[in-house]
Structure formats: structure tokens, C-alpha cells
């Protein structure tokens, strides 16, 4: 509809001074012809289809009759963004438009970059930094790209959480905008920025997963524990005995899993240099850490100012020689069963045993990390749960290789769920 009208628009109408237009409008106040929301929200495709099939002569006549108001009310590409398009706020947009376009002289459509539907579609392919850059080009883009749905799409897409059935998404987090969530997740911050930062070698993004219920299961192997001590005994005992524990107070929502390489503080033979960035090379004294956090963790002030409290969950040492080290996090809910079995079927994703590079795997409700150990090494796993926030299951080996896998679980008063998927976008390389 907007298109059809734009063709009717007088060619030079846009060049008139804004004040004149404003005056004219004030003299003859009229209700808007068409509800601007309706104009913008109707999908362009349908518009086009209807247009080419049924020219709707009646409507055209109506437009002609009220022609004087048309250019202002409907043609504004911004109609849906700020419905009060009749007001002078349209001015900067017109200034932005390509000069010298005559809508009547050309048979083809006006070359109009300001098309809401078009740019909403294009935005689906842009990453956060590009969205921000585009929105800093002019006011029109800034208004358009401030739309929450665009940021929500980008957030879920970049965490590989876009699912076919949208009803599975956790509800929108309270009090937070998707743009802030996106920023917190992708601005390069990670859990090691605050402590042990000198030892941090590299971070890789594994992806997002969902916690539907507050029950989170952490294990130091790619298998479900056959038995767990009663939860009343606390996670220390469970971890010590089985290398796994169940938390019942994790916070439900979207969790983000990262993979970190960190130099080990306990290692006595520490020949690693700081440039070590390739996981393949991690021989000595390098911890491999699986780090998971709730997507809202970095929006907490107390996290940034260091007053966030952590709780040690426990340590688990394995004194037998083993060829692989792994750890996994699941949501312990019924819906998560499929994800859990997908992650636990090690054959489908674990690297061949002669490839020492670690590999992570993510499903919707679970995430796991596996490392093949080149030497038959002993490993220990140590789980740290920090006062509601961090769980780490860590495994370390003899002095030669130390693999540590840790989960920072963000748990609050309520629940947990976990999803997992494939890895690995290099997030950033820290020096």
C-alpha cells in the first residue's frame, strides 16, 4: 500500500520547506488516512501480491481524493516506527533520501532505502557490532534497529538457540532488554576477566543452552552417574564419591557455555608460554575449562565489582590412568532427555583418540567437553560452586597435562535447565 501511494506522490513534494508543510497541515487538520501501524506491520509480500492481483480501484480513487495529505501520512517509511509521521520529525528522513528521485518519471519503483521490512530482513543476517554500526549511520536506522525483536533474533541466533518451535524458548528475562543481553553475551567479556586473568590464554564460545528447571546435573564423565548420594549430604560428598553432583538451585533461563584455556597455578612444570593459543599444543600446565553462566550474570553489578560470592562444590580425583577427560552439564528435566542422550553418545562427536584437541558439543539442554589425553594420565576433577554462582568440575593430570573443566553455574533462588550444541566460534584471543 505504501508503495502504491509513493508512486502517486508529486515528484517535487519532498523538497518543499518543512515549515510550509507543517503550516499546511495545521490549517487543515485531518485524521490520518490509514493507521500507520497497520501500514507498517502488514508484510510487504502480501501487499505486493494483493496489489498485482487486485488493483483495488476504489482505494485508488480514495487516495486521489485526499491526495494532499498522502505524501506525509503514508509515504513516510517510518510510519510504523513513530506513528506521528505528520509532524516535522519526518524532515531528517526526507533529507536522507536520495536526491533527485522522481517517482513518476521512472516506471520502476523509487529507489528507497528506507523500507522497514527490507531492513528488518537484512538485520537478521547482521551481527551485533554491525547492527550497532548501521544504527549509528542516521536516526532512521537508529530507531529501526532499536527494536527488541531484532536483538532477540540476533541473540538467539548467535547462541545457536533458534529453534523451529518457538514455544520452547524461555520467557524473556525480566527487566532486561535483549540488546543489553546481547551486549553482555558478546562484548568479549568472560569469567576470567576478573580473576586469574594473567593466566588466561584463550576463550571460545560453545553456544547457549536452556535450563528449564532449577535442577542441573554436573558430571566429570560422559555418562550419567548410576547413583548419587542423597542431596541432603551436599554436593561435596557427591562429587568426591562419583565425580558428579546435582544442583537444585540453578537459575532457569538461557545459559552460555564457553571454553577457556588457562594456565594452571598448581602445575610445577610450567613451560607453557603465554602465546599458547592452540588447544592442540596444550601439553603442560594448561587447564581446559568448560565455563557456563546464566546470560544475565554479566548484567549483575555485584559480579563486576567483585562482591559476587562463590562456593566451592568439591574435588574429585581420579587416580586411574585414563585416555580421555570429559565433563558435561545437563538440565535434569524430562524435556532434556533427548539432549542428554545426544551429548552422552560420545561416539557421535568425540574426536578420534589420537587427536588431542578438545571438542565441545552442545544440545538444547546440555553441553559437554571432551579431551583426549595423549599420555595415560591421571586426572582429578574439582568442582567449585560459588555461592550460587560457580560450579566447576575440573580434572587434572599428572604434571604433564592438566585438564580442568569447570562450570560457572549461576544459581539463584530457583531453577536450572541446560541445553548444548556444537562449538566453536573463536570468541576472542586474550593475551
Amino acid at each position: 500500500m505504501g508503495k502504491a501511494i509513493s508512486l502517486l506522490r508529486p515528484p517535487q513534494g519532498t523538497r518543499e520547506s518543512e515549515s510550509e508543510r507543517g503550516m499546511e497541515l495545521r490549517k487543515r487538520p485531518r485524521p490520518p488516512l490509514v493507521d500507520p501501524d497497520f501500514v507498517s506491520s502488514q508484510p510487504a509480500r502480501k501487499r505486493a501480491k494483493g496489489q498485482s492481483l487486485r488493483p483495488a480501484p476504489a482505494r485508488r480513487q480514495a487516495m486521489r481524493r485526499r491526495g494532499s495529505c498522502l505524501p506525509v501520512t503514508i509515504q513516510s517509511p517510518v510510519a510504523g516506527i513513530h506513528p506521528s509521521a505528520c509532524e516535522p520529525c519526518e524532515a531528517p528522513l526526507r533529507a536522507c533520501r536520495l536526491p533527485g528521485v522522481s517517482f513518476i518519471a521512472h516506471r520502476r519503483r523509487p529507489f528507497n532505502w528506507y523500507e522497514v521490512d527490507l531492513w528488518t530482513e537484512v538485520a537478521k543476517y547482521l551481527f551485533g557490532a554491525e547492527l550497532v554500526r548501521l544504527s549509528s549511520t542516521c536516526r532512521w536506522f537508529r530507531r529501526l534497529l532499536a527494536d527488541e525483536s531484532i536483538w532477540r533474533y540476533a541473540f538467539l541466533r548467535d547462541l545457536s538457540l533458534l529453534l523451529a518451535n518457538a514455544d520452547r524458548y524461555p520467557p524473556r528475562p525480566l527487566h532486561r532488554s535483549w540488546r543489553l543481553l546481547y551486549t553482555a553475551a558478546f562484548n568479549g567479556a568472560h569469567s576470567y576477566l576478573f580473576f586469574r586473568s594473567k593466566r588466561h590464554i584463550g576463550a571460545y564460545r560453545i553456544g547457549g543452552f536452556l535450563l528449564e528447571s532449577p535442577h542441573m546435573l554436573l558430571t566429570a564423565m560422559l555418562a550419567l552417574p548410576r547413583w548419587l548420594p542423597p542431596q541432603d549430604d551436599g554436593p561435596h560428598i557427591a562429587i568426591e564419591m562419583t565425580g558428579a553432583c546435582m544442583l537444585s538451585n540453578a537459575r532457569p533461563g538461557i545459559w552460555i557455555a564457553d571454553f577457556h584455556l588457562v594456565q594452571c597455578s598448581k602445575c610445577t612444570i610450567n613451560t607453557c608460554s603465554g602465546e599458547l593459543t592452540d588447544a592442540r599444543m596444550c601439553g603442560t600446565g594448561v587447564l581446559q575449562v568448560l565455563d557456563a553462566r546464566h546470560c544475565e550474570l554479566f548484567l549483575e553489578d555485584s559480579f563486576w565489582n567483585g562482591t559476587w560470592e562463590y562456593e566451592d562444590l568439591g574435588d574429585h580425583y581420579n587416580n586411574e590412568e585414563t585416555a580421555t577427560a570429559a565433563c558435561a552439564i545437563f538440565n535434569a528435566s524430562r524435556r532434556a532427555q533427548e539432549s542428554a542422550s545426544c551429548v552422552l553418545s560420545a561416539k557421535s562427536w568425540v574426536r578420534r583418540c589420537d587427536d588431542p584437541q578438545p571438542k565441545a558439543h552442545r544440545a538444547i539442554y546440555a553441553v559437554a567437553l571432551n579431551s583426549n589425553l595423549p599420555f595415560g594420565v591421571k586426572f582429578s576433577s574439582d568442582a567449585r560452586h560459588d555461592e550460587g554462582r560457580a560450579d566447576s568440575v575440573c580434572q587434572d593430570h599428572t604434571a604433564d597435562l592438566l585438564i580442568k573443566q569447570c562450570v560457572v553455574a549461576f544459581q539463584e533462588e530457583e531453577t536450572i535447565v541446560i541445553p548444548i550444541q556444537r562449538l566453536k566460534l573463536p570468541l576472542l584471543q586474550c593475551k
Binding site: A44, R45, A48, K49, Q51, S52, L53, P92, A95, C96, L98, R107, R108, R109, F111, W113, L118, E121, V122, A123, K124, Y125, L126, G128, A129, E130, V132, R133, L134, S135, S136, T137, C138, R139, F141, R142, T183, N187, G188
Partner: protein, 173 residues
């Protein structure tokens, strides 16, 4: 294309009078053509008039439809084809798409508008992807030049933008 099925051709007529013949199945990629045929029109020799789309643009759209129709028909043809082959075919098609859409901005816009009018979802997505691709790695001022946009922010707004997302600006510099 199942054997024995009569070959039905559809004619599309562009706004400047050029006509393009293509298989009906290929033309059915377009929702608009689909609707027209469903209501019993468009099969005649007069063809389906496509308003607002020039012959040059329509020819590109027809090429796209033909390619995607043949690719889909080939995929249907050998059901036994193993997964690997399917993935390879898909990848090949994607490469073809990317080469096909590697166009100047004006042309791309024409095709996008045409695809939108005709209701070809795949082509709309492809064009949008290409637009996004053109935006990638460009600074705000480069985008402005590319799209012919004037910077209409006040200095306060600009400061606010930079304050809002320091992570973007620090990374680009």
C-alpha cells in the same frame, strides 16, 4: 519431473513487454504466480503480466527459478542419494546463489523488489543476505557513503551512541 507428466509452460510478461517462458513448476516458486494459476488464470497464451518489473530484472528472476527448480527436481529424482551427496548438492546450489547475487546495489534492489512482489521467499532471503554481506566490515561512514545517507545526529546523540556500545567502537579501531 515425473515421466509422462505433460510439460506445462507459463509465460511471464514484464512491464516493458518482454515475455519469458518457463516451466510451470519453476514458476510456482512464486507465490504470486501460484495464486494466479490457482484462480484459473495465467495459463493462456497471453501469459501473466508482471507489473513494475522490467524485462532485465525478470530475466534474472527466471534464471533463479529455473535453477532452483532443476536443483529441487534432481534432489527428488534420486531419493537413494546418500546424505553426503545431498549436502554437496546443497552447498553447490548455495555457491551458485552467491555468485548469482553478486550484483551492483541498484540491480540487487530491483531484484529484491521483484522477488518481493512475486513472493519468492528464497530470493528475498538471498537478496537480504547479500545486502547484509555488503554492510559487513564497514564503518558507519562507509555505510553512509554506500547508501547515500546523510548523518543527521546531533553531537549529543553521537556521544550517547558511543557511550552505549563501547565494545563495538573499541574493537573497530
Amino acid at each position: 519431473m515425473a515421466a509422462g507428466k505433460p510439460v506445462v509452460m507459463v509465460t511471464l510478461v514484464s512491464s516493458d513487454g518482454q515475455s519469458f517462458q518457463l516451466l510451470e513448476e519453476a514458476a510456482l516458486l512464486s507465490a504470486m504466480v501460484r495464486d494466479t494459476i490457482q484462480i484459473g488464470q495465467g495459463r493462456g497464451p497471453a501469459g501473466i503480466p508482471i507489473r513494475n518489473i522490467t524485462g532485465q530484472t525478470l530475466s534474472m528472476v527466471v534464471v533463479y527459478c529455473n535453477k532452483h527448480y532443476t536443483a529441487a527436481a534432481a534432489a527428488d529424482g534420486d531419493d537413494a542419494a546418500d546424505e553426503e551427496k545431498k549436502v554437496a548438492n546443497k552447498k553447490q546450489l548455495r555457491e551458485w546463489d552467491e555468485q548469482f547475487i553478486n550484483l551492483e546495489q541498484d540491480k540487487l534492489y530491483d531484484i529484491l523488489v521483484a522477488a518481493n512482489n512475486l513472493g519468492i521467499d528464497g530470493l528475498v532471503d538471498l537478496c537480504c543476505w547479500r545486502f547484509a554481506d555488503m554492510m559487513k566490515g564497514k564503518s558507519a561512514s562507509e555505510i553512509r557513503v554506500k547508501l547515500g545517507i546523510r548523518d543527521d545526529f546531533t553531537s549529543e546523540q553521537r556521544a550517547q551512541i558511543e557511550k552505549d556500545s563501547p565494545w563495538v567502537w573499541s574493537r573497530t579501531t
